[in-house]
């Protein structure tokens, strides 16, 4: 079945039909140096049971986006605007108290580093029980049974014994499994995984991804997978949002992104994936330069200072901010001044052979 990346950037004030709909999301942090525009006008939709990948370099606004969906910026100095619709409820303007009922219950999150994300002074079991009892009025014994069941489900051997272990007694992979058990203990409809495999061994990475896919099928929950690893995206996601400098530069189905990418930054990301079947010189093509400052975002296209193809267009790249334009009717969109047909040609002739 062809996945349906139903993406709509038009602002609506009434609830959209999509399960999760992010519209023109902006997260700005006022600092002494100036306004940091971590996320600047991001829109995407996600259907129930789908896996969406958000890819980009460090500082592209991936994690800030995910924390905005969970409302974790509430009470901080961050300025959040735009709309996040979740099952007909708008989250940006929602009160912290109502948001709390959703967090960990309807939507939950897995973080990058499971050791620092688990409290060092409480047992794994205690921490899962706490998450469960916060949203379910059950006795400690019932919650304990539930936690052990979850630990067993995520593949932790002897869960009833490991229940009383502390995080530092778990291995890295086991810790991430425990994190997943904690995130899923209340059967959330939306799971946000913020670089869940980055801190893990490669062998464990695959297991964790497999586990997440299994659980997603079992509970029919939607997943937002935040990563900088396109390999992970290819393995797990159905739709992809490519972020750069706090903006979405390309979005579409996983096929679109891998077989018909339309944005020089996406080409760069694809080239940055090491290929073991190439000669040593051709294995890796890094993107030159560094990610942009989020205080002084480059004029024109955010990516132009690092773009190899900007001389094919001329002035526009450095002066005019390109729109996120439709590539085709399936929802594939890209933000680039290069002509659509020329882009396809460049990719086919110049980029694809080097990948």
């Amino acid at each position: 079945m062809q996945p349906q990346p139903a993406i709509d950037v038009h602002l609506q004030t009434e609830a959209p039909s999509a399960f999760l709909s992010v519209r023109d999301l902006r997260v700005h942090f006022p600092t002494a140096d100036g306004l940091v525009k971590s996320v600047d006008g991001l829109s995407f939709d996600l259907a129930r049971g789908q896996i969406l990948g958000i890819v980009g370099e460090s500082g592209s606004g991936k994690s800030v986006t995910s924390q905005a969906i969970l409302g974790l910026h509430k009470g901080s100095s961050a300025e959040v605007s735009g709309e996040i619709w979740f099952e007909g409820k708008e989250l940006v303007r929602m009160r912290e108290g109502d948001m709390r009922d959703l967090r960990g219950n309807e939507m939950s999150m897995i973080f990058q580093d499971p050791l620092s994300s688990l409290h060092p002074f409480y047992t794994i079991g205690w921490q899962i029980v706490e998450a469960y009892r916060e949203h379910n009025k059950v006795s400690k014994a019932v919650a304990r049974r539930r936690a052990i069941e979850m630990l067993d489900r995520v593949g932790i051997p002897n869960p009833d014994k490991r229940f009383d272990d502390y995080p530092h007694q778990f291995s890295g992979g086991m810790r991430q499994r425990a994190m997943i058990a904690m995130a899923l203990v209340c059967d959330p409809k939306l799971l946000i995984a913020d670089e869940p495999t980055t801190a893990l061994d490669v062998t464990v990475q695959a297991q964790i991804l497999e586990l997440m896919k299994d659980l997603q099928r079992e509970f029919n929950s939607a997943i937002i997978l935040i990563t900088h690893d396109l390999g992970v995206v290819a393995e797990t996601c159905e739709t992809v949002v490519v972020m750069y400098g706090g903006q979405c530069v390309e979005q579409g189905s996983v096929r679109d992104i891998f077989y018909n990418p339309q944005m020089p930054y996406t080409w760069g990301l694809l080239g940055s994936m090491p290929r073991m079947d190439r000669t040593r010189q051709a294995r890796l093509t890094p993107i030159p330069g560094t990610p942009p400052s989020l205080i002084q975002v480059p004029r024109g296209c955010v990516f132009h200072p690092r773009c190899r193809f900007r001389d094919r267009v001329g002035e526009a790249c450095t002066t005019v901010h390109p729109d996120l334009e439709e590539v085709d009717a399936t929802g594939h969109r890209a933000r680039c001044h290069i002509d659509k047909h020329e882009r396809s040609q460049i990719f086919a002739n110049e980029i694809a052979p080097t990948l």
Binding site: Q67, M109, F111, S116, S117, F121, A131, H168
Partner: protein, 336 residues
């Protein structure tokens, strides 16, 4: 866990032995360096000239003519089993734990310390409770909202607290609450068992004076620790679980932020027993600090040795308790 406690206790014992030896050495060195007979430090004025037979006899009676290791052994033996002492005119038996006998004051060092210790303990423990509560409260509130009014007022108070010495705050407190407002009528110290109300009345101002100084320090420590902890990943996890702010702050934040405070608290509390000289002087309390200062003035060596040993003992015990407490607080310590 039991193995951990035994290991730490053995460690503390070793430290105590070392401390006792150093104390002994220092007070062996004192007469040697001042070129006077140690007898002077024991009985005060001695009419016999240096080198005279009578002085030699006294030195022999006290055992000062023995090799140092035998003297050390005698001293330790006395602490555990008691000993008979004599300066020629007075014969006394000093029951264990015998910390020596002050011929100047004609009292066993043990009983002098026994009188002073409750004062010092009351002072230290009471003040510690006050400063811990006050400091942690101010520090937590400040750390949660850095830059807020609470933070600024709290940190200004803290700056005042560390800047003002007790010999300033103490008399000011006395002036205001005893002489101006007359809320307290210059009470003398009474033991907590004999007259709890008077005990409280005599202790409240010293507590406040001492706690003010330390609360300032603890407020700053707690603030820094809280600021750091609230930025930790596990706090974000706690919030992502949907926990209330109160639970996040108290169960997850404070729990982790207070761990380093516990360590410092133990050391401070242990050290305070026997070193609150200024507070005791300002408020006319006869604690260990006062005792050590008077003994130093009178060159009363046995008392100085006794007080030093007891103060060191208090510090070591406090550290031991903190170590064990810490293992309960932080599971990573227990198992490593």
């Amino acid at each position: 866990m039991i193995r951990f406690i035994i290991r730490r206790s053995l460690g503390a014992l070793v430290v105590l032995i070392v401390v006792s030896f150093i104390t002994f050495v220092i007070f062996q060195l004192a007469p040697f360096l001042s070129h006077s007979s140690p007898v002077y430090y024991y009985v005060g004025k001695v009419p016999f000239p240096p080198g005279s037979l009578q002085l030699k006899l006294l030195e022999h009676r006290f055992g000062f003519d023995l090799p140092w290791y035998q003297q050390y052994w005698h001293w330790l033996h006395g602490i555990f089993f008691g000993e008979s002492l004599s300066d020629g005119s007075t014969n006394v038996y000093c029951a264990p734990p015998c910390l020596g006998y002050s011929f100047q004051q004609n009292t066993a060092v043990g009983s002098l310390i026994w009188q002073a210790l409750p004062v010092s303990l009351s002072l230290a423990i009471g003040a510690a409770t006050l400063w811990l509560l006050g400091g942690v409260l101010i520090g937590t509130l400040s750390g949660l909202r850095p830059g807020s009014i609470i933070d600024r007022v709290g940190m200004t108070l803290a700056l005042g607290g560390v800047s003002l010495p007790i010999f300033f705050t103490g008399p000011v407190l006395l002036l205001v609450f005893e002489y101006q407002l007359k809320w307290l009528n210059n009470p003398a110290y009474a033991s907590i068992t004999s007259n709890p109300l008077q005990w409280l009345e005599s202790m409240i101002l010293p507590w406040i004076a001492l706690a003010f100084l330390f609360a300032a320090l603890y407020a700053r420590l707690t603030r820094a620790s809280m600021l750091e902890t609230m930025g930790e990943d596990f706090i974000r996890t706690a919030r992502a679980k949907g926990l209330s702010r109160r639970t996040v702050v108290v169960k997850h934040g404070l729990r982790a932020a207070l761990t380093p405070i516990v360590t410092i608290f133990g050391i401070d509390l242990g050290q305070l027993i026997g070193t609150t000289v200024i507070t005791e002087t300002v408020f006319n309390l006869r604690g260990l600090g006062w005792l050590s200062v008077t003994s130093i003035r009178q060159h009363d060596l046995p008392v100085i040795m006794g007080v030093t040993l007891v103060a060191a003992f208090a510090l070591v015990i406090a550290n031991l308790i903190v170590d064990i407490l810490y293992a309960f607080v932080d599971p990573r310590v227990r198992l490593s």
